[in-house]
């Protein structure tokens, strides 16, 4: 079993070292670019390595340090950006043929904020086309391989960023999470992946999949780094009307508060039964035992509405996607296939050639769900189910401070294994979807591995705007799990 998993230096250590002038950002950058050059052929995490941009940004960081300035909390930290976020002048593909050579004339707010915090963008990473998938196999440019076992998927849709972090190609990756697309690949690659409260991080410049569910978040090696990157990105943005006003929370300060006094709620529906691999459940329980040994109070909570959550998700997300992806019509940018008849024929030929099977499937599903006569039965009903999920979670949070579950019902599966079975593939998101429907924050961190050495993820959920609490609990779990082996 080919294994390329490796930890990079933690981002906060790199930043500290660059800020203090001990290390130059340019040296850090060169080192990681070399690592990418050496290993990425086998992993396929990157769609584009932005060498020039990275070296220029690193030089700018070094110049700031040399001038006695502070480049920011992510000084010189190499980051990989999922290729559904825009960077001015760098092609954004969404791992689709339909965008052609499209180059955005603007940069996503989240990326802009990382750069102004001193981060260095080393490349754009692979994903399931338009973030639709759970394996990063639905990419027009080929799959990404899991560094823990190259014959397996890294999860998805942010599989490129997750694999890049897991292989030590970068200390930080950015992902987007619509139904679990950060947390599930984090779980399958043994990294930390975090989805903020909906509206915490601006979506401006993130190519929309499902607008009411999408959130950008970090993939890192440890909880501390995730908090650091989150802190740098979070905050209201006048360009995103759904971004929420700043709270002034300091998540960094909460990291060291420890677990004392925190009550964990184990989500009953996600901790037994069908579809869960025994090794996943066993590892999850072992982690609970460790918490218990530390004196953490653990209770069981129930979210009865999760029975309908997957259905709600697979109605809302495709419905919004069908509308969001209408603009890829061959008129203004990207691919055009023109059989030489009329504009509708051109639109249809372009979309037929430019979209992959999963994207077409979801566009079809979403168009159907919104078409005349079905709106109320499908989209509106799914939105009411969101309310049920929120109500259930509110009840659970009256019994516990944070909730927990395995992140993914399974460890990384074999490439190709689920490609012809969309329903089974959709089950990958079973434990992650409720947080998207409710808009709540959640984080996945590695709690163990199966006998083959495949990572298993532990998910911590918190109420809306509860990032500080969530990071505190996750840091506590991370410490309880103990020393990690790459």
């Amino acid at each position: 079993m080919a294994k390329l998993a490796k930890f990079s230096d933690p981002a906060h250590v790199i930043a500290q070292s660059v800020r203090s002038g001990q290390t130059s950002a340019s040296d850090v950058c060169q080192k990681y670019l070399a690592e990418i050059g050496k290993k990425d052929d086998q992993i396929g995490a990157f769609l584009e390595v932005t060498t020039e941009l990275a070296l220029a940004q690193a030089a700018a960081v070094d110049a700031t340090v040399a001038a006695g300035g502070d480049p920011g909390p992510l000084a010189g930290v190499p980051v990989a950006i999922k290729d559904n976020m825009c960077i001015e002048g760098i092609p954004t593909t969404c791992a689709s043929d339909i965008l052609g050579k499209w180059q955005p004339p603007y940069t996503a707010t989240a990326v802009e904020r990382l750069i102004s915090a001193g981060a260095v963008v080393v490349g754009k990473t692979n994903l399931d086309e338009f973030a639709m998938g759970s394996s990063t196999e639905n990419s027009a440019f080929g799959p990404t391989h899991n560094p823990h076992d190259l014959t397996r998927v890294p999860g998805g849709s942010s599989g490129g960023s997750a694999a890049a972090v897991a292989a030590g190609l970068v200390p930080v990756g950015l992902g987007s999470d619509t139904g679990g697309s950060i947390r599930q690949p984090a779980s399958l690659t043994g990294t930390v992946g975090m989805k903020p409260t909906y509206g915490r991080v601006s979506r401006y410049g993130l190519v929309a999949f499902a607008s009411s569910l999408d959130q950008i978040g970090p993939l890192t090696n440890n909880v501390h780094d995730a908090a650091l990157v989150y802190q740098a990105m979070a905050g209201s943005d006048p360009r995103d009307a759904t971004s929420i006003p700043d709270s002034g929370d300091d998540v960094m300060a909460s990291l060291t508060d420890g677990l004392a006094g925190l009550k964990f709620g184990v989500i009953k529906e996600f901790s037994d039964g069908e579809g869960f691999e025994p090794e996943v459940l066993a590892s999850f329980r072992r982690t609970l035992d460790k918490l218990d040994a530390l004196g953490v109070e653990i209770v069981e909570v129930s979210l009865p509405s999760v029975e309908h959550a997957l259905s709600a998700y697979y109605l809302i997300a495709p419905a919004e996607a069908s509308s969001n992806l209408a603009r890829f019509d061959g008129v203004r940018y990207g691919l055009r296939v023109d059989p030489g008849a009329d504009v509708e024929t051109m639109n249809r030929a372009t979309r037929e050639a430019g979209f992959g099977a999963e994207v077409k499937r979801r566009i079809m599903l979403g168009t159907y769900a919104l078409s005349a006569g079905y709106f109320d039965a499908y989209y509106a009903q799914a939105q009411r189910v969101r309310t049920l999920v929120i109500n259930d979670l509110a009840k659970a949070y009256s019994q516990a401070d944070v909730l927990c579950s395995p992140t993914s019902p399974t460890v990384a599966f074999k490439l190709g294994e689920r490609m012809d079975d969309p329903l089974t593939m959709y089950m990958s998101d079973f434990c992650t979807i409720p947080s998207n429907l409710a808009g709540h924050p959640a984080i996945s961190l590695r709690c163990g591995e199966d006998p083959q050495g495949l990572p298993i993820g532990f998910q911590v959920l918190a109420p809306a705007l509860g990032e500080a609490l969530m990071f505190r609990a996750a840091a506590g779990v991370e410490a309880a799990v103990g020393e990690r082996i790459a």
Partner: protein, 95 residues
């Protein structure tokens, strides 16, 4: 919910997709399966439940009526698959 081939063809036209024979067949099956699953959502008791559009209830998020610079035309048109007279060129439109 059974999705017929005709349903698939109708929806494909709404969605501006030109599906081939094999895809029509495949989607008829897969969409039926997925919707069979999704249809269970009907059984969720949502009487008296308001839909949630956004988890955090914001209102009146507005911008001031201020003009900012537009994009340079050559930047905009550089991305166009076809152009003429500084406009985006498309095949004829059938009404």
């Amino acid at each position: 919910m059974t999705i017929t081939r005709d349903d698939v063809i109708h929806v494909a036209r709404l969605a501006r997709l030109e599906l081939n024979e094999a895809e029509v067949e495949m989607f008829a099956h897969q969409l039926s399966d997925i919707l069979d699953h999704a249809d269970k959502i009907e059984t969720a008791d949502t009487s008296g439940v308001e839909p949630t559009a956004h988890p955090i209830a914001l209102a009146n998020v507005l911008r001031e009526d201020v003009v900012r610079e537009s994009l340079a035309r050559d930047v905009v048109l550089a991305q166009a698959p076809a152009q003429e007279d500084n406009c985006f060129k498309v095949p004829r439109i059938l009404e």
